[in-house]
């Protein structure tokens, strides 16, 4: 077992416009990407659980050419609103880092 953060070259979060947040999990080489993809340990349901959302609120993609897994969720507060804590959405990925990959 390895934590996702040990296998990925970059896990990041960012605004996808003012109303959505997007997560990119990027890998250095095809073997590692395929290992994570085939394991099924990173899925729409797992991302949903990490952010306490129903799975249908999560957009989820495997990006083979980019060697990346991507997920997008609605922002809990619109970018820049009084309740928003992260204007660029850049520090929202930590809950993905310790996903265990067989």
């Amino acid at each position: 077992m390895s934590a996702l953060a040990q296998l990925a070259r970059l896990i990041r979060s960012k605004n996808a416009g003012p109303f959505e947040l997007t997560f990119d999990i990027m890998f250095e080489d095809a073997a590692t990407y395929e290992r994570v993809k085939r394991s099924g340990a990173v899925s729409r349901e797992v991302v949903a659980a990490r952010y306490s959302l129903p799975p249908e609120k999560v957009k989820f993609f495997y990006c083979d050419h980019a060697l990346a897994i991507k997920a997008s969720i609605p922002r809990p507060a619109t970018q820049g609103d009084l309740a928003d804590s992260d204007g660029h959405g850049g520090q929202q990925y930590a809950p993905l880092m310790d996903i265990e990959i067989p």
Partner: protein, 460 residues
């Protein structure tokens, strides 16, 4: 085509730019804005990058484009692309032309939306929500400081057809800036839009980005090739494919006014150690032409206060402590203002750093591990004076809020300084599209003939 940088004002290497000009681009394009810096730029009309930094980039781009006698297309002028920002950039262009003795025809394309026009389209049910979207009604239009439409490629093409050498556009789709010319010259839409998507961020799609810099693409009938002019920068199939992930919710389908760029079948191959060839990208025309709106309204005036706590008694009861404090502050505000300020007339909040200040409701960690907590108190109201008063009340109430563990007068918060005025604060209030009759009606154009310091308006 040449993209000097991802945002005008973020800079690029002059050596890369000169090398790119030697490759004889047919035009230079540059995005100059985004919603990413937040709603305050659309709300206030200020620019996110310093004016001197924007002027430096513009001067080099204008001089380079005039030297090669090729078009220069700038989109989303002045960060949000509202009229006040378009005017600011237009003024800058005129000053540069005067200083550098440049001659050209300038097109200014407005993207700020007329309130009566939007109200009419709303009544006609031709303003449709995207997902997720806030409610949008006649009152939203009235409350907004500025509402802009995000133009497609067509208004830019119209400006070039009218003989413009330099196009400064208000809010524009980042990709439309670059797709306009290849589309007008008959290149396949899939190639034009995908190459545009890579170029709009400058050299962001390279493997080893050091600083913002130039990117170059050759668009052909069945493919395009992308390469960074700086020989030290490398594009790889993976880095170019990964670029469509950045700041997009869906990496395979990118929606534009006139249709959707579909990257499902795109293929990426290395043509050298630094250049990548892309094939297979498709553009699916939309049944209905739509223009996305962006709007910002004032949320109020804000005062903030930064403090911290170190006492473990307070830290272990922080949720209860902040709830009691909020109650006291609200009671004290009521004593001071009475009926002049109702509870709904102001927003008071406390962020707790060390607990969930960064992630708020998304934070999965429940137990606190910190030996100190930072507190950010925010008071937002209709005037700065009221916000300041609430911040002043907050400081005093927070300092001396009692806890059961201690008897006697305590001083509970460390404040490095007193409250700060943030001035007006704004919120985005629209995530909708308009269905116009044609791609031009929302984007009127001015044409100006510029000759050094002299300029005269032409009939557009």
């Amino acid at each position: 085509m040449l993209s000097p940088t991802g945002v005008a004002g973020s800079g690029f290497q002059e050596s890369s730019f000169e090398r790119a000009l030697e490759q004889r681009p047919h035009f230079i394009g540059c995005d100059a804005g985004s919603t990413d810096p937040g709603p305050e730029y659309l709300g206030s009309g200020r620019t996110a990058f310093p004016l001197d930094a924007i002027r430096r980039d513009l001067r080099l781009m204008l001089a380079g484009a005039r030297r090669l006698k090729i078009p220069l297309v700038i989109g989303s002028a002045g960060t949000a692309g509202a009229d006040v920002q378009l005017e600011l950039v237009a003024q800058m262009v005129k000053e540069i032309a005067a200083a550098e003795q440049l001659r050209f025809r300038l097109a200014l394309i407005h993207a700020e939306q007329d309130r009566a026009y939007l109200a009419r389209r709303l009544r006609e049910n031709r303003v449709k929500p995207l997902n997720p979207a806030p409610a949008f009604g006649a009152d939203t239009i009235a409350r907004s400081e500025h509402i802009v439409g995000m133009m497609g490629a067509e208004p830019v093409q119209r400006a070039l057809e009218a003989g413009a050498d330099v196009v400064i556009a208000g809010r524009a789709s980042d990709t439309a800036i670059f797709a306009a010319i290849p589309l007008a010259r008959g290149f396949p839409a899939g190639m034009a839009w995908h190459a545009a998507k890579i170029l709009e961020c400058g050299a962001a799609a390279v493997v080893n980005r050091k600083t913002p810099d130039c990117m170059f693409a050759w668009v052909r009938q069945d493919h395009f090739v992308v390469e960074a002019p700086d020989p030290a920068l490398r594009c790889t199939p993976q880095s170019i494919a990964a670029h469509s992930l950045y700041e997009n919710a869906d990496p395979f389908r990118l929606v534009e006014c006139s249709g959707t760029l579909d990257l499902t079948d795109s293929n990426y191959e290395a043509v050298s150690s630094r250049a990548v060839k892309v094939t297979g990208s498709r553009f699916v025309p939309a049944e209905r032409y739509t223009v996305k709106l962006e709007g910002a309204e004032k949320a109020g005036y804000q005062s903030v206060l930064i403090g911290s706590v170190r006492d473990p008694f307070i830290i272990r009861q922080i949720d209860d402590w902040t709830a009691r404090l909020t109650e006291r502050i609200r009671a004290r505000v009521n004593m001071v203002f009475g009926d002049r300020l109702k509870p709904a007339d102001y927003v008071f909040s406390i962020r707790i750093y060390g607990k969930n200040g960064t992630m708020g409701p998304l934070e999965p960690v429940r137990e606190m591990r910190a030996h100190e907590l930072a507190l950010l108190f925010e008071a937002t109201a209709a005037t700065q004076e009221i916000a300041n008063t609430i911040a002043g009340i907050t400081r005093h109430q927070a300092l001396h809020l009692p806890i059961p563990e201690w008897s006697g007068l305590i001083t509970a918060v460390a404040f490095p300084f007193n409250h700060l005025e943030r001035g007006a604060v704004y919120r985005f209030n629209v995530n909708h599209v308009v269905e116009p009759d044609d791609p031009y009606e929302m984007f009127p154009m001015d044409l100006v003939e510029i000759d050094g310091a002299a300029f005269r308006a032409l009939a557009a």
